[in-house]
Symmetry: C2
Amino acid sequence: MYRPQIKVVDCTVRDGGLMNKWQFTDDFVEQVYLANSKAGIDYMEIGYLSSESAFSRDEYGPWKFCAEADIQRIIGHNGEKKIKLSAMADIGRIEYNDIPPCEESSLDMVRVACYVHQIDAAIALAHHCMDKGYEATINLMAVSTVGPRDLEEALEDLAKCRVPIIYLVDSFGAFYSEDIDILSQKYMAALPDKTIGIHTHNNQQLAFANTIAAIINGANYLDGSLYGIGRGAGNCPLELLVSFLKNPKFKVKPLIEVIEAHIFPWRAKIDWGYFIPYMMTGVLNQHPRSAMAHMESDHKNNVTDFFNQVTNATDLV
Amino acid sequence: MYRPQIKVVDCTVRDGGLMNKWQFTDDFVEQVYLANSKAGIDYMEIGYLSSESAFSRDEYGPWKFCAEADIQRIIGHNGEKKIKLSAMADIGRIEYNDIPPCEESSLDMVRVACYVHQIDAAIALAHHCMDKGYEATINLMAVSTVGPRDLEEALEDLAKCRVPIIYLVDSFGAFYSEDIDILSQKYMAALPDKTIGIHTHNNQQLAFANTIAAIINGANYLDGSLYGIGRGAGNCPLELLVSFLKNPKFKVKPLIEVIEAHIFPWRAKIDWGYFIPYMMTGVLNQHPRSAMAHMESDHKNNVTDFFNQVTNATDLV
């Protein structure tokens, strides 16, 4: 039996765009949109909400901003919207005034990403989005680096807020499934009236396993991306997640088709997935930025050098 | 706290050789041997025991046979043997008479691989190896296709035999961690006097997660391979497993060094790891041979064709 409450969120464009500054063609985004629609995916996260004054369109593609005109180029000629659209908002990168009312937007949901010290600002932004008519979530990032007292306080704040969906996020790909068991149970206990979501990274090849662990513990909002495309080691592969879920509304074939036609070409250009530098930052519970810099260098296969660099740095701490 | 009973078995040459007919240079095998020794790995499985009359050395490299003269070229000039060596024996591919007494061999352990209908022959061969002085295991393959009654009978036979180590093997990469939980517990309950081992495949990116699940359920013999090299989607990556284990005798760095120097060059020649065809046979609980044939064809990226081929075949069953 499947849980009808389960919703799947495709993060291909939003998280994958962290690897190429969202330089996806409109055709790419449209094909992902159509494939997600056919596959029964519940939400497509199409990018970030950012203020145009904070970033340059010369450097960043449209999905750094998710302006309505950008979205219309994708969905406007495809008839009625077939799938809910989501955008992520980082604290401090979007002005309240730059968020249109929901009825003037094709976005259905705003997911507010924050670190633990930003929790008050995140709640305020999520409430603002809800007041403008959007669904909203708060995605508390990098929990693997948050101490138990800070986490407890954050969960207490979240329990009191109006935001209905709270995400457990393994930003660094550092968690084993046992950690996900414990944290899911902690979130469920602290947030009895809310829905729990799960967003994983694949540094230790555990993104799919950890997503399953969260499902078993009651998480109902599940993030994935096509072929796992995403920052660093990437995310839970959507095609694996959909193959696992029992709800017959989900179809794998449209995902395989779009992977072949539109994701494979990106494999030759950007390196997401299991690579030793990403594995190392996952094992060490570190932000992947050092690994990403190494992978973008001209000596990305010198993984022993990278190992020495990060483990020596650790010894100093 | 770590479990001192845990033993790690590196299958790089044995399982990886399934992808290249064991055409590894002596230098490759020696560097893997030295790295395993430095990393504190307990056993290196160096290949298969096969009768020279059954296979041609023109077609297969030395590690299809593991003759003592072959092994000596690797370890003979490296001083005292630093690590236990293992070889796998398939039922019907090795004559009893072709197995030397243990005191005339550098091998310490023979692992007998069998399907469920071969269990009696496997026990006989394992007993024969033990009588010749070897450690022995039985690795019951493809359990994901064995019905509950057949499995129960096989476990009853194994409980009665003298072989002390029995492996749970996910040959098709079809199991989720919940399946491993259930099967590990079944093996532990049916074989209370024996040690349980785990050998996984990575078709659904669950090889490491499933190995951890087996550890939690009491498995103490753990298989891995460098960078996951192995048939099809490959195995549990040894570097991830060693990073996870708490026993301070295990070191990751020698594994990273040998991956950089000797495994990376093979990435350009053979395709193991997460690919859609392997993912599909895992999801469908099928032998990977159709996926391997597809990956060796000149249209390996036509994964939609492969999807249609295997799902149509499934519909007919």
